[in-house]
């Protein structure tokens, strides 16, 4: 544990009732001043983790440390943590100004200070001029921004954000993504951000935790997780991917169907069964005789930035291709890719084993 650790979970489990365990043995360590994202599908336990950090409930077993101190029994109002709630939880009997000022009033700050801080927070969320509005008169997106202002105005050590941008339109959303990230870096506070939008997670985070049914599947920087997903689940969740079964023939040789390809993975058992990921954008369209693989174009969608092609090889595996070049539906084309584009995932590998294996490859394989 480094000095910079602000939150630490040690074997934390949580169950609401006897039958189901919502969080299963969570271990994590969060450093001060970083932007963390909890990423996972609905019901995987993201909000539950936030509620444990905020102090709305206690873990069923295990310990939570804040700045090295056990805080299992510290009540929510004594924690240096503020939350942007998934359902906003704005006070309907108070107007926008009073909602944002709520925490400041409890700290008994002076009138002038409160006013100045509230306006500053509202400025950040682009809601200056809305001070006197009732919450009922605000749109969903505006409410969400009031909730953000209400949390940041208290200047806590940690800010928990439970899907704070989900109700915003695309433009405002990416604007707020930038601004939140910028604010986090300016304040140097720890942000723990929940989303089930993988693009948002990739764009904003220093580190991502991918959750699945109450367990951490993988944690790492956005690059790590995107480039080296630990398993099928993470690969599938973190972005559109082609995931197929294959066999590791030898070091640097992997077999998909009956074709062998060069790859950069080593240290696996000969003839070990593996899952293989190739990202759609790593596949390049070429002439049939030049490609490493021959596929037939089934459908083609225009996605704005690129075309999305759904293609099938002779064995019936589907290959999604993102390409700026157009192809003809029904035509046969060749697909080309680099050895680095092939990501080999062992079946049932733990995160520890996975990290060790990646390290053993040495840096040179990833120099590009």
């Amino acid at each position: 544990m480094s000095d910079n650790t602000i939150i630490r979970f040690e074997n934390v489990t949580k169950s609401y009732d006897a039958e189901t365990t919502v969080l299963k043995n969570i271990n994590l360590e969060l450093e001060r001043g970083k932007f963390y994202t909890l990423l996972g599908p609905s019901g995987c336990g993201k909000t539950t983790i936030l509620r444990l950090i905020a102090g709305f409930m206690q873990p069923t077993s295990g310990s939570i440390y804040f700045n090295g101190k056990l805080i299992n029994n510290v009540p929510a109002n004594e924690r240096q943590v503020n939350t942007v709630f998934q359902d906003y939880a704005l006070f309907p009997h108070l107007n926008v100004f009073e909602n944002v000022a709520f925490g400041l009033r409890i700290k008994k700050l002076g009138k002038k200070v409160i006013e100045q801080k509230v306006i500053e927070a509202l400025k950040f969320v682009n809601l200056v001029g809305y001070e006197k509005r009732e919450i009922a008169e605000m749109s969903g997106g505006q409410r969400q921004r009031v909730a953000i202002a209400r949390a940041i105005v208290n200047d806590p050590e940690i800010i928990l954000l439970d899907e704070p941008l989900s109700a915003l339109d695309l433009k405002l959303r990416s604007e707020m993504q930038y601004e939140l990230r910028e604010l986090q870096q300016r304040l140097g506070k720890t942000f723990i951000f929940v989303t089930h939008d993988q693009e948002e997670a990739l764009a904003m985070s220093d580190e991502i935790f991918v959750l699945n049914e109450g367990e951490i599947e993988q944690s790492g920087t956005p690059m790590d997780i995107y480039d080296e997903p630990i398993n099928r689940y993470v690969a599938d969740f973190i972005g559109e991917s082609n995931i197929v079964s294959g066999t590791m023939v030898a070091d640097f040789r992997v077999k998909i169907g009956d074709k062998e390809f060069e790859c950069v993975d080593q240290g696996l058992n000969p003839n070990e069964k593996v899952d293989i990921v190739i990202r759609p954008e790593d596949l390049e369209i070429t002439a049939v005789d030049k490609g490493k693989m021959k596929v037939k174009v089934d459908t083609q969608l225009f996605r704005g930035v690129h075309y999305e092609l759904s293609t099938y090889d002779d064995e019936g595996n589907e290959w999604l291709v993102h390409s700026t070049k157009k192809a003809d539906v029904g035509a046969s084309i060749g697909l080309d890719f680099d050895p680095e584009a092939i990501h080999v995932m062992r079946l049932n590998e733990t995160e520890e084993e996975f990290d060790k294996r990646l390290e053993s490859y040495g840096e040179d394989a990833y120099a590009n």
Binding site: A76, T83, F85, I106, E134, G140
Partner: protein, 274 residues
Amino acid sequence: MQTKTTKAFYLIPYYVWIVLFVVAPIALIAYYSFFDLSGNFTLDNYQNFFTSVYLKLTLSSFWYAFLITFFTLLIAYPTAYLLTKTRHKQLWLLLIIIPSWINLLLKTYAFIGIFGLYGPVNAFLNVFGLEETQILFTDFSFVFVSVYIFIPFMILPIFNSLDKLNPSLMDASRDLGASSWTTFSKVILPLTINGVKAGIQAVFIPSLSLFMITRLIAGNKVITLGTAIEQQFLVTQNWGMGSTIAVFLIIFMVIIMIITGQRDKGAYANGKNK
């Protein structure tokens, strides 16, 4: 298709009802209040009302109604709060509501038995070596029985408003540093104040005009506007004065209804809707 005339047609029973059972009785009371014992038109009744006897009566009525409402609220709010936290809250609520379906008179008589000289309360006090004391016909027994009878009417509206409260608002308040007490005074109470007002209305107004419980439990110890009206009509046969008191009672009720009236902020006011 519904035309204006058919709509008006459906409203006829409603209007008939209102005229027969609301407007007419009030008009009659107002009418009678202008006559004296021998049937002559007079304003004396109104003048009489402002003499010390009736003003004292009014004051005492308000005082008892206040006591009853105060203790009912004191018991009902925490009870309603605990109810919302229980697992089978609808069942518990039903158990609390059921006694209010039992006839008022029956319950009152039951208390005469309980509080009587040879009732269980005195028997219990005897165990501790205390003399048998007269509990009936005291202010205490009157307020006690009234509170008992009114509690369900206070719990119900408060329970409803508490139950509608979005629990994450409590979390948000705690999250922003509020203690349990501050959370109660700044979030829970303001958001359930409509339930409290409705409860106060449902208790205070009827307690102003109580007379049966007053008679049976408090004997002649407590005289309120309700007992005064009863006395004027049934004992003194002075319908004019009785009606005058009733007119004032109605005026007081209207004032209380206006004071405790709901500031309607729509469905959002309870916080559960997003």
